[in-house]
Amino acid sequence: MSAITVEEAGAIHPAQARMSPPSRFADKAFYWLTLSMAFVVVLLVILIGWQLGQGSWQAIQKFGFHFVTTSTWDPVAEQYGALPFIYGTAVSSLIALLIAVPLSIGTAVYLTELAPLWMRQPIVSLIEMLAAIPSVILGLWGIFVMIPWLRDHPFPFLQRILGWTPFFSGPIYGPCMLAGGIIVAIMVLPIITSVSREILRSVPNLQREAAYALGATRWEVTRIAVLSYARKGLFGAVILGLGRALGETMAVTMVIGNTPQIAASLFKPGYTLASVIANEFTEATTDMYLQALFEIGLVLFGVTIVVNLLAQLLLKTITGAAAPDRVQ
């Protein structure tokens, strides 16, 4: 064994010597190539921001800060305030994450830790199929199947139990903020599940074996050795899902009721930033109207960036304190 490696090593050295001085061209080219690719992404983000800013400049000048603090959206009177849309985007995304995160991570844990091997692949394929459904189809399914069912069964049940809180009070019509959140949850579920599953699969078996060796139960192994180890990655999966939730458009528009209002009750209709752009952009004929819609795009852009920054900050505080107990 060792004789062969020595021989091979010996064969390589003279060859390298003949090629001296070694060319660094490939290294440099590769460096610049990857650098420019990374730069293109940054440039794209800057260009999008710049374009949105330029498209909405008159509206920014006219409405100033009031644009994000007022609630009137009236194209006839040319009064534009984006607050109900910001609120709707935030709340529907929050509902979506509250539903989708436990479901997705639970599914991922089951698939990597507990499920019998023959079951894993079929379930994974099914989840990936869910991601392939076009959002407008999901939206129509929302109108014709999901909403009638929600309206007749789970919603009245929720109201019976939690109707005393402002969040579940008032008449139930069907299309509402909660329905919007639920449809977004269905849409982000596949993303969070598949990314989480990949992350849990990449947890070294050594971790699990070490925990078992210490006499941990299956639940303890999953909690201490797997979930805690993969915490950072799982958080990243949730952030990916959140990105999708903030920008989700067609399916939400179909079920959220499209009414720009801020209401505590989740049974009341709402509206999101992405939905109002999709709804009104094609028929916006006056300049200021178009400018206001561009500014909505700018606000959505800003909200996405702020939420991502906050998430990174949160990630740092969570993992910063718990870092020492990690292996590697």
């Binding site: 006839v76 109108i143 179909m254 009104e280 094609t282």
Partner: protein
């Protein structure tokens, strides 16, 4: 090898020849309204048999987009479900003509137990959409529907959430019949709604109405017919209850005041048989055509559409223009200069 090369060359030559003859065929580009898209595609299809040398390329991107593109001169014709505003016309580099083509109507569709026939007058419709009439058994609804069993249920108003010509016709009607609506809400492709939930597109509104007991909203007549939805008879300005049909829409165009620039509205038209919530759709072209050969072909098509195209309207559930309006439009098309 050489044989193979030869056949390749011949193939290439044929391909080049084909593409050359394809570019010899003229393409006229248009963009705009989605509502007339089915009949326009039918027209372009049929017209290809009349004049194989022109091909039409129409993008149904919405009326707003159609107006923008004709103003920017990126298309040869635009299409819009509402006439262009004075502000937008002032932005045009040259005079733009409005050519009305066909018309449609908004119907009041509803979902009641057993779906009984319903009759509504202007005041009631305005009251419902202003959020003042909240229950189905309101005396105002009962007054025009004697004998109909109206439930003690909330009326769930459904409107379009996306900007649309359908909404423009609807709010134009409400602004004409209700001073309160005019001052509080106004007329536009999308407005700040006093009440109700928004559905995206005709399919969104129709879906919400079908799935929500007690719902009421407006959809395009074609859409209601094709989806077999019940819709109300509406009392017109002559005091008669009129069913929305292709004939009652054409009747509205026959009695409405139509100015010479054809920027007209046929809502609340005065005739006895006129259905009051209807509207036309327009093609937008420059009076002075830049490209003489293209302009000539476009004029030929516009004339064909008014003479022969109108006859195809009925089969596709569009209302055709009344005879005398067709004549006026034809005269206007003649004024297009090359």
């Amino acid at each position: 090898m050489t044989k193979l090369h030869k056949t390749k060359l011949v193939g290439l030559a044929i391909a080049l020849g084909l593409s050359a003859s394809a570019s010899g065929q003229m393409t006229i580009n248009g963009a705009g309204a989605t509502f007339p898209y089915p009949i326009y595609s039918k027209w372009f299809d049929e017209y290809a048999k009349v004049d194989p040398s022109v091909r039409f390329n129409y993008q149904s991107i919405g009326s707003g987009g159609g107006q923008k593109q004709i103003l920017a001169q990126t298309v040869d014709f635009g299409a819009s479900d509402g006439p262009m505003s004075d502000d937008n016309l002032a932005k045009a580099p040259a005079k733009i003509l409005h050519i009305p083509t066909v018309a449609g109507a908004d119907v009041v569709a509803y979902n009641l137990p057993g779906n009984p026939p319903l009759k509504l007058d202007a005041d009631t419709i305005a009251g419902i959409f202003l959020g003042q009439i909240k229950k189905w058994n309101d005396p105002k609804i009962a007054a025009t529907n004697a004998g109909t069993n109206l439930p003690d249920k909330d009326i769930i108003v459904v409107h379009r959430s996306d900007g649309s010509g359908t909404t423009y016709i609807w709010t134009d009607y409400l602004s004409k019949i209700s001073a309160e609506w005019k001052s509080k809400v106004g007329t536009n492709t999308s407005v700040s709604w006093p009440t109700g939930i928004g559905g995206k597109g005709n399919e969104g509104v129709a879906g919400q109405i079908k799935q929500t007991p007690g719902a009421l909203g407006y959809v395009e007549l074609i859409y209601a017919i094709q989806n077999k939805m019940p819709y109300a008879d509406i009392k017109n300005s002559a005091g008669k209850f009129v069913k929305p049909t292709l004939e009652s829409i054409t009747a509205a165009m026959a009695t409405a005041q139509i100015p010479d620039d054809f920027r007209f509205s046929i809502t609340n038209a005065p005739g006895e048989n006129a259905y009051p919530i209807a509207g036309a759709t327009w093609l937008l072209v420059y009076e002075q055509q830049k490209d003489a050969t293209k302009g000539k072909k476009l004029v030929e098509f516009l004339k064909w559409a008014q003479k022969d195209g109108e006859k195809m309207a009925k089969d596709l559930d569009y209302a055709s223009l009344p005879e005398d309006l067709q004549q006026r439009v034809l005269k206007r098309i003649d004024e297009i200069k090359m």
